[in-house]
C-alpha cells in the first residue's frame, strides 16, 4: 500500500512526538475557506491528524521558528528548507533543535489567480494530481495546475528540500530551461521615466499593513527600520515616496538571503507583486557573486563576507 504524503507526514510527526524527540511539530491544518490552510503547532501525538498537505501550504513555516527555544519538528518544502538554512546561519534557530520533515514540492496554487479566473464564489477546490476543479454553487471550472501556480512556483529552481532529516516522498523533477529573470530583465530594459512609472503603479495601492514583511522569514528585526522613530528614516503614511522606500529598502535587506518563497506576494491583501524588487536583487547576487541563498549551512552569504574576487567595476 502506497502511503500518501499526508499519511507519511502524520506518521513521522506522531513518532517524533511519542519519542519526545520534539516538543512540537509545526505544519498546516485545514483552513475554514477553500484554498486556505492555517499554520498549526501540534504538541500531542493524538493531534497529528490535524496536519494536512496540499497545494495551499504556501506560507513559509520558517517564520514560525525564529528565536524559539524548543525542539521542533517542521514540515518544510524546498524554499522553506533554504530559509531554515539561512536562519541557522543567522543564529535564529540551531540545527540541533530541528527535525526537518522535508516535502518535495510540485508548486502551490495562487488563490487570487483562481478567484479572478472564475465568475462565481468558489465553495470547494478539488485537486486530482495535475488537474484542479473549482466548484461553485451551480458552476464549476477546470484548470491545469500549471496554469494557476503561484508565480514564484512557476519558475522554481529548488523544489526539493536542501536540508532535511526525513523526506516524505520522492524528489520531484526540477523543471528544465526555466528563465527565472525574464520579467526582471524587461524592467531593467525600461527607460528611466517608464521605470519610475512602473513602480509608481505597482505600489499605488499599498496600505502599509506590513503583511509582506511579517510573513517573510528574513524580517525578524526587533525594530524594523520603518518603525524606528529616533531617527525617523521613513514616514508612516501612505505617501508614495515613503511607500516606495519601504519596499525597495526591505528588498535590499533581503538581498542574498531571499529564496523567493513567494510568501510576501501570497499574504499581500492588495495583490501587489513586490517580488519585482527582491528578484532583481536575487539576480544581482547570482550574477555578481554566483550566489543562491540557503543551499547549505556551511557557506556565509556574500553580503556577510569579503572575497577579493568580489566585483568592483562600478567603483571608479
Amino acid at each position: 500500500m502506497v502511503t500518501t504524503t499526508v499519511e507519511k507526514i502524520r506518521e513521522l510527526s506522531a513518532q517524533l512526538l511519542k519519542d519526545k524527540k520534539v516538543d512540537m511539530v509545526i505544519g498546516f491544518q485545514k483552513g475554514s475557506l477553500p484554498m486556505s490552510n492555517e499554520p498549526v503547532m501540534v504538541k500531542r501525538p493524538a493531534d497529528v491528524d490535524k496536519l494536512v498537505w496540499d497545494s495551499h501550504c504556501s506560507v513559509n513555516l520558517a517564520s514560525y521558528l525564529t528565536d524559539r527555544k524548543e525542539k521542533i519538528g517542521v514540515i518544510a518544502k524546498g524554499c522553506d528548507t533554504r530559509n531554515i538554512a539561512t536562519h541557522i546561519i543567522e543564529n535564529k534557530i540551531s540545527r540541533e533543535q530541528l527535525t526537518i520533515i522535508g516535502v518535495p514540492c510540485s508548486g502551490m496554487i495562487d488563490r487570487r489567480k483562481v478567484m479572478n479566473a472564475v465568475g462565481f464564489e468558489i465553495k470547494e477546490l478539488i485537486e486530482e494530481s495535475d488537474r484542479v476543479i473549482a466548484k461553485g454553487d451551480d458552476a464549476e471550472k477546470r484548470f491545469n495546475k500549471a496554469e494557476i501556480l503561484q508565480e514564484n512556483c512557476a519558475v522554481c529552481s529548488h523544489p526539493n528540500p536542501v536540508l532535511f532529516d526525513e523526506l516524505v516522498s520522492d524528489p520531484v523533477e526540477v523543471k528544465e530551461g526555466i528563465d527565472r529573470y525574464a520579467d526582471v530583465r524587461e524592467i531593467e530594459a525600461m527607460e528611466t521615466d517608464a521605470k519610475w512609472a512602473y513602480f509608481e503603479d505597482l505600489l499605488s495601492n499599498c496600505i502599509r499593513c506590513y503583511a509582506c514583511r511579517n510573513a517573510c522569514p528574513l524580517c525578524y528585526c526587533p525594530t524594523c527600520f520603518v518603525d524606528e522613530s529616533e531617527p525617523q528614516w521613513v514616514g508612516k503614511s501612505s505617501d508614495a515616496v515613503d511607500t516606495r522606500t519601504f519596499h525597495f529598502l526591505r528588498a535590499y535587506h533581503c538581498a542574498g538571503r531571499c529564496t523567493d518563497c513567494g510568501s510576501c506576494e501570497r499574504v499581500c491583501p492588495m495583490g501587489i507583486k513586490m517580488r519585482a524588487f527582491t528578484r532583481k536583487l536575487e539576480k544581482d547576487c547570482l550574477e555578481s557573486f554566483n550566489w543562491q541563498a540557503g543551499l547549505n549551512i556551511e557557506q556565509r552569504p556574500p553580503l556577510d563576507s569579503f572575497n577579493p574576487a568580489d566585483p568592483d567595476q562600478f567603483v571608479k
Binding site: T192, W196, Y198, D239
Partner: protein, 45 residues
C-alpha cells in the same frame, strides 16, 4: 528604479589622494548639475 543613472556614483579615494578627490567631486557635480534638480524621491509637502 527610475532615478537617472548619473546621480549615483561610487569611488574609492584615500585621504592621501587629494588630487583624485578634487577630480571626482568636480566630475560628480558636473554630472548631477547637467541633470538638473531631482524631481523623484522628493516627498510632496
Amino acid at each position: 528604479m527610475g532615478i537617472e543613472k548619473d546621480r549615483l556614483h561610487f569611488s574609492w579615494i584615500s585621504s592621501a589622494e587629494a588630487t583624485k578627490f578634487v577630480d571626482v567631486v568636480n566630475k560628480v557635480t558636473a554630472s548631477v548639475k547637467a541633470l538638473g534638480p531631482a524631481k523623484r524621491f522628493i516627498k510632496a509637502g
